[in-house]
Amino acid sequence: MKQELARVLSNEEIMEGGHLLWLEAPGITGSGTEPGQYLMLRCGTSYDPFLRRPMSIHRVMGERLAVVFKVLGKGTTILAACKAGDSIDMLGPLGHGFHIERGSLNLLLVAGGLGVAPLTFLADEALADGCRVTLLLGTPTASWRFPQRLLPEGASVQVVTEDGSEGTRGLVSDLAAELESDFDMVCACGPAAMYKAMVDSGISASRKVQVSLETNLACGVGACLGCTVQTRLGLKQVCSDGPVFDLADLLI
């Protein structure tokens, strides 16, 4: 875990209100990063907005890493205005990521909205390890869909939109439940409602489903206990025990 002033290499608006930032962060990348881990980004240098913004690591290339985010408020508006050459104060890598069981060759990745961010990193690593990767990309409507060109090459992608404007019409959770039995492991990242829907549509409660949780965070290191969730294994911190958990351990 490192605190580092990372230099912005590029900032691209990749979809409406959605940004892709590439940063140079030798300290953080040098600490060893795993898919599903995240960073805490300070937004500007004042105390308003106050807290850092947690963001999944989207991709890592050598000493460079990427995050993607949607502009939602004050903090992300500041980050969206960053230019190449600017610096962002980051903490990371934080938390525990996805763990691919040895012998899992066929992975199903389930993304809700920008939940695709850490799954791209996971797909990159899994493909490099010789796994087959199928990515379900769920989004309300086609215009909010993560651009094809930024998806991992070699993954088989199926788009699901709630309004049917692209790909299959429906919920990504339903398709995930339908396809699950064909895969060795399922890794998901999206809103809590998506995990609830996955459970409701009968996805297995076996050990093979891992999900990344999102809560408000303050510290990112397990100190403030602001992100505690009740699990079948007792109280857990989303920030330091997670954010990735076995779906079977969650009380959803």
């Binding site: 605190q3 300070r42 106050f50 602001g226």
Partner: protein, 305 residues
């Protein structure tokens, strides 16, 4: 420059190498930030609030950002005193930095029980009595709101331990000076002002309070002038050391509290924003003293009074 701060004298006193420590509840048990900063360089480490039995705390959500600050409603989630003694204290005993255990009870007697139990534990250098947590019904601010109750809790603790006793006061009272005087007369060695200010936020979409517990405690730079005024008022009326706490994020903030009468400071929410805050503040105080030709920190304590 000499930043040492003697809060309590004597063999079992409380002498800090510098006046900067974390605020309880923002630093876990001291180990959580140890890969980011050298915690041995702090004035002291103050632990998460500790109760006799473990507590699960409040429902989610527990955090909400506010203008230049944040609300929390953790609800004293902790592993309980015996687990603290078994799992955490042995490591503290190997540290140079003094560890102060923050204690909270749901009845007056609990505080004395906790004090007596911790009094004999290696690695514990002091107690901070939490009579000011706004996030639990019992054990929190209820004791801190009445001078009589606050004094009763303080007496119970002081008579049950030989450790230095800090009492942390709530700002959610009509007259904090009255409480400060009562606690001092009951035998507290040090006061800490202040805990979080009660606050809340409403989610206009769900039309419900944002926090799972309905209300929480406000911290961060937003509360600093309020906390500072309370230190300023209390310092005029009590003759024991005060630890200032509330929205401190920079060395200049800390110096304001020191000049208003604080002998030391606690930094809480600011180190979520910048984990290097604690050490940066200590360095900044040192630089200020050097620039101003101040040899001993004590020369600055209360100069604005």
């Amino acid at each position: 420059m000499d930043l040492t701060t003697e809060l309590v004298s004597g063999t079992r006193g409380l002498k800090l190498k510098n006046p900067v420590m974390n605020a309880s509840g923002t630093f876990g048990y001291g180990t959580e930030y140890s890969s980011l900063i050298d915690i041995q360089e702090l004035g002291a480490v103050v632990t998460k609030g500790t109760t006799i039995e473990s507590r699960a705390g409040n429902p989610q959500p527990r955090l909400k950002e506010t203008p230049a600050g944040m609300l929390n409603s953790i609800g004293l989630q902790n592993i309980g005193v015996e687990a603290v003694i078994a799992q955490k204290a042995p490591l503290w005993a190997t540290w140079r930095v003094p560890v102060i255990v923050n204690i909270a009870g749901s009845q007056v007697e609990d505080y004395a029980v906790l004090a007596s139990r911790l009094s004999v534990v290696d690695g514990v250098s002091g107690l901070e009595v939490n009579i000011s947590c706004p996030n639990v019904k019992a054990g929190g601010v209820a004791f801190g709101a009445s001078p009589r109750m606050a004094a009763e809790v303080t007496r119970g603790v002081v008579s049950s331990t030989t450790l230095p006793v800090i009492v942390k006061l709530s700002p959610n009272v009509s007259d904090i000076v009255e409480i400060a005087v009562a606690v001092r007369e009951a035998g507290a060695h040090v006061l800490c002002l202040v805990n979080t200010l009660r606050g809340t936020a409403i989610d206009i979409n769900s039309r419900r309070p944002f926090l799972g517990n309905g209300m929480g405690g406000l911290s961060g730079p937003a509360i600093r002038p309020v906390a500072l005024a309370m230190v300023y008022q209390a310092a005029k009326m009590v003759d024991i050391p005060i630890i200032g706490c509330g929205g401190i994020a920079t060395a200049a903030d800390a110096l304001e509290f020191i000049m208003a009468g604080a002998s030391a400071v606690q930094v809480g929410a600011a180190q979520f924003v910048d984990p290097s805050s604690l050490l940066r503040i200590a360095e900044g105080i040192d630089e200020f003293m050097e620039r101003e030709g101040v040899k001993y920190l004590s020369e600055l304590v209360g100069v604005a009074l």
